[in-house]
Amino acid sequence: MIIGQSKTAENFIAPVLTFFQGIPALSWVVFAIIWFHGIEFRVLFIMVMTTLPAFTFQILDAFRSMSKDLFEMTMAFRPSRWTLFRFLIVPTIVPGILTAWKVNLGNAARVVVVAELVGATGGVGYQLLRQQQLFDMAGAMAWTLQLVLFVLIVQQTITAIENWALRYRAVSERAM
């Protein structure tokens, strides 16, 4: 929101996020292991750092695509900043937020697995490492399927939320 409304903030934050986008996920894993002791915090840090830039840019795009017509119409009623945010900005960026969640979910899951594999003592990544050390293919498949199932369930949940939140959209009777 701040980046969308302030050119100064954009000039300051956008290059940083672009720079972060260039840092490989594995580098964040190494940084997290060196910087932090808490395993849960390491995983959280890695997940945030790898998904934040794309998430921010996607929501920023949604914010910028806000209809000028609707903005002027709403401004004609002289709303407070909070009212404008609640009645116009939030509904405008909701589709972008949902898309960002869907796109980033798979990436985040993959990165977290790598993080757990390298720097954790629990989680799917750690279990996969154990199965590799035990040469247990069935165990590796089971943990992989568990992760896939988790991602599918979250994807379906987001899709259900999306279908509800965007129920106002017109749907053509003719299929593509």
């Binding site: 017509d69 002027e72 709403t74 004609a76 009623f77 009212t83 009645f87 959209r169």
Partner: protein, 263 residues
């Protein structure tokens, strides 16, 4: 004719826009002066790009004049932006309904922004929808409504906040003639019944003559080239003459149509 303080007053108002490519500037409004009294319906006519919408946006407080003085209810509509909460209702050329809100919620929007309690706001919104023939469509989303119905919702939205001034920017131009005629009649009736002051922008002479107590014809950049008054006593012959005069004045507008979109 207004004997009291005018509700809307422009004094030598000009608006100059920089061109998008940064080369030079474009004058959309050029030393425009006029006054509109309480209860008047003023139709503003002009060719596309003549600055009607710029004048409209200045009155609405959405843009600031480059020079001159614009006063609405004695206040600067751009600088005293918050003063006009609930005082100005706008019907735009396109309906500008929020697609994620039902018809009822779209009409309620202004009332919600004005912090009206939920129950009275809903009752008011329902009443206005019913007055505009949309009872039974309260829970329809905009995509499920026809163009005429959507424009009715936007009119209901403007009236629901009970504004002192109504601004209409070619609100019926995208509708078929029958629907537009019905809505024009409805609009004038509602404005008169509720004692509103209205500016109605149009590029159709017949529409201006049907709606306006007074007609202002703009030449490019926005300046008044012709002004006349009409009322119920104006006879057919006089109306025909006014129509011909407006046609002649419009044809004399030699300004080039190179205004940015929306000017």
């Amino acid at each position: 004719m207004p004997t009291v303080q005018p509700v809307i007053r422009f004094q030598d108002v000009s608006k100059v826009f920089g061109r998008p490519d940064g080369r030079g500037a474009f004058t959309a409004v050029d030393k425009l002066s006029f006054e509109i009294g309480k209860g008047e319906i003023v139709a503003v006519l002009g060719k596309t790009g003549c600055g009607k919408s710029t004048m409209f946006n200045i009155v609405a407080g959405l843009i600031e004049p480059t020079s001159g003085e614009a006063k609405v209810i004695g206040h600067d509509p751009f600088r005293d932006f918050a003063f006009f909460r609930g005082k100005i209702g706008i019907v735009f050329q396109n309906d500008r309904l929020m697609p994620w809100r039902t018809a009822l919620d779209n009409v309620r929007l202004g009332l919600q922004i004005l912090d009206t309690d939920t129950k009275p706001a809903e009752e008011t919104a329902r009443r206005w929808l019913a007055r505009l023939g949309l009872a039974g469509h309260e829970n329809d989303y905009p995509h499920a409504l026809s163009g005429g119905m959507r424009q009715r919702v936007s009119i209901a939205r403007a009236f629901a906040v009970d504004p002192e001034i109504l601004l209409c920017d070619e609100p019926f131009s995208s509708l078929d003639e029958m629907t537009a005629r019905d809505l024009r009649g409805e609009f004038v009736r509602l404005v008169r019944q509720n004692d509103k002051t209205a500016i109605f922008i149009t590029h159709q002479i017949n529409e201006a003559m049907e709606i306006g107590d007074r007609i202002l014809v703009f030449h490019r950049p926005a300046r008044i080239a012709y002004e006349t008054r009409l009322d119920a006593t104006t006879g057919d012959a006089e109306r025909r003459k006014v129509h011909d005069d407006i046609m002649r004045v419009l044809s004399l507008d030699s300004g080039t149509d190179h205004a940015p979109k929306g000017a």
